[in-house]
Symmetry: C2
Subunit: 344 residues, 2 copies
């Protein structure tokens, strides 16, 4: 397998990316290679610092980097020599099996649409994020922000694609699907959620009905379906609240010598709580519904997050998530004709 | 002032309501009376248990109770003898200055619209909730769930009404207003948020621009403006996450005798954290934009929450929030003609 990764994306590039790549390659079987895309000299220097001396990491040059300030669609169209465009084209042309980037979410989404293209039958690809559940198993949130405005059929597609990813990559058998709503009753909500509830009930996903945001932390469902505006708000609020609680706890523990000792006594448990809030741990966010395996990492990803994401990416490809999504939405078509762009 | 309160609403009625009323009346000046509305015998018994022996608490009989299972609009129309309808009619007829209930949110909103009526110039009244900020000053969230689907002008109205309540009742001078969005840039978001951003910029509120949900815990603004679907999700997620963190902390503190001692050492600080998450503390959620002062309490309100809400209700009336809202949306009209329903 050839894993293509953007060496230039995110706050800690290229060093954290390269370090994570080196960590991952040592855990992967000999048949796997990692291709770092970006400014060759920078990446070569970063790789040298790690003292990696194997032959399973390649560097492919890309002169420019799309930043968060660049307008995504325009940048993908114009900046042909950017790490995102070069890397994604490698997947499109069969020179890579998956593309990973911690760069601009907008550019990765735009690249997915413009370079890889949508799976036939999918109206809107989606960004799926692992949603942290304190003291419990994480859920998968679709859509996490790719589509601020949605039609009912989009929410159904998110549910189908999210269920496949949850089962194949995150290992949750027959995952339950809940629809975020302002009440559990079917007749509650907006025109969008009422229509989506109906579609989901009639669909093949394991739909457990509407769920209120209050229940997300009770592992109310494995796949949380919502529009990208609400999904973005939910994941960002959880992130902000988690950081704030941890900061507050820290200040509580610093109030006296005795409380400082207490913190030391509970170090392991507190570390676990911190980890649970930290969705960088969970291995990147897939963009589902495009003709190729595509993963977005958090912009602040460190080497550990990079390693985790690469390990998940292997499953994403091995389990043929892209092909299964295509089959699910085109039950009678030949899959190969839909997805041959990224398969060789 | 005459404060009318639903003695039958909420999980802990009538005892917690009556107990809260007794606590509050002792803190209020002699000129204030509280009128408990509900099943006379039940309320008389509950009041007797408190051993209250003053003459500033009256009981007004209402035979029925609207439950959360009753369809709100239908219930308000048909159940004329319910505590919500009887109590709200007292405010409408000038026999009371404010109505408070921990009962069905739907019924209270429907009653506000059907019995009190909208302030002239307001398209959609709103439910405003105090939004807890850990380690900081709370914000006010409008709309917290009254209007799942909104037009841009509704969001502007929420901002205007929320700013007035924040200043007059919660004492925050010249409150800042932020619009919840999936990015801070003006061009980001949905058709709704883009249009609302424009209206807010041109308005007289102290608009600080779009805010992401991640920033809510950083006291990014005093008044958080959003549609009722998103607002409902934000407040419920915060509530659910808060409960879960506290539960997790409790289990961390119970892992060993040493950690149990630590918990005792940090008791005061942990209690403060719990209080910050507990928005029952903050004195009820006003329904703004109706012709009368109206407050919804959390269904699980205890006596302390009831007392807090009654104390806030006094400010709500004394500061003439309803009149000021009317003036703000009808700058050239005579306020008395818009709001004389609830004024005597």
């Amino acid at each position: 397998m050839k894993i293509v990764i953007d060496g230039m994306g995110g706050d800690n590039a290229p060093d954290a990316i390269v370090e994570g790549v080196v960590q991952a390659v040592q855990e992967l079987g000999q048949e796997n290679q990692i291709i770092l895309v970006g400014q060759e000299q920078l990446l070569t220097d970063a790789l040298r610092k790690t003292r990696y001396n194997g032959n399973r990491i390649q560097i492919v040059n890309a002169d420019s980097v799309i930043s968060n300030d660049d307008a995504p669609v325009r940048a993908v169209r114009k900046m042909k020599d950017s790490s995102v465009v070069v890397g994604m084209n490698m997947v499109k042309n069969g020179e890579g099996d998956v593309f990973i980037s911690a760069g601009s979410t907008g550019a990765i989404l735009a690249g997915g649409l413009l370079i890889l293209g949508r799976v036939k039958g999918i109206d809107r690809p989606t960004l799926a994020t692992v949603y942290p559940v304190i003291g419990g198993k994480p859920s998968l949130l679709v859509d996490a922000g790719a589509n601020a405005e949605c039609k009912p059929r989009n929410l159904l597609e998110f549910a189908v694609m999210g269920s496949i990813y949850m089962e194949k990559v995150l290992g949750r058998e027959n995952p339950t699907v809940g629809l975020v709503n302002n009440g559990t009753e079917e007749e509650k909500g907006t025109a969008l959620t009422r229509a989506a509830n109906k579609l989901l009930k009639e669909s093949s996903v394991n739909f457990v009905g509407n769920i209120e945001a209050r229940e997300l932390q009770n592992s109310a469902c494995d796949v949380i379906v919502t529009d990208g505006f609400t999904g973005n708000a939910l994941i960002k609020l959880t992130e902000g609240l988690g950081l704030m609680v941890l900061r507050e706890l820290k200040s509580i523990f610093l109030t006296s010598p005795m409380t400082k000792i207490s913190a030391i006594l509970m170090k392991e448990q507190l570390k676990k709580l911190k980890t649970e809030f930290d969705y960088k741990e969970y291995g990147g966010a897939p963009i589902l519904g495009v003709k190729g395996a595509l993963l977005k990492m958090h912009g602040s990803s460190d080497a550990k997050a990079v390693r985790q994401t690469i390990l998940k990416a292997v499953l994403y490809v091995e389990e043929n998530v892209v092909g299964i999504i295509s089959d699910a939405v085109n039950p009678r078509s030949k899959r190969s004709s839909d997805t041959d762009d990224q398969e060789k």
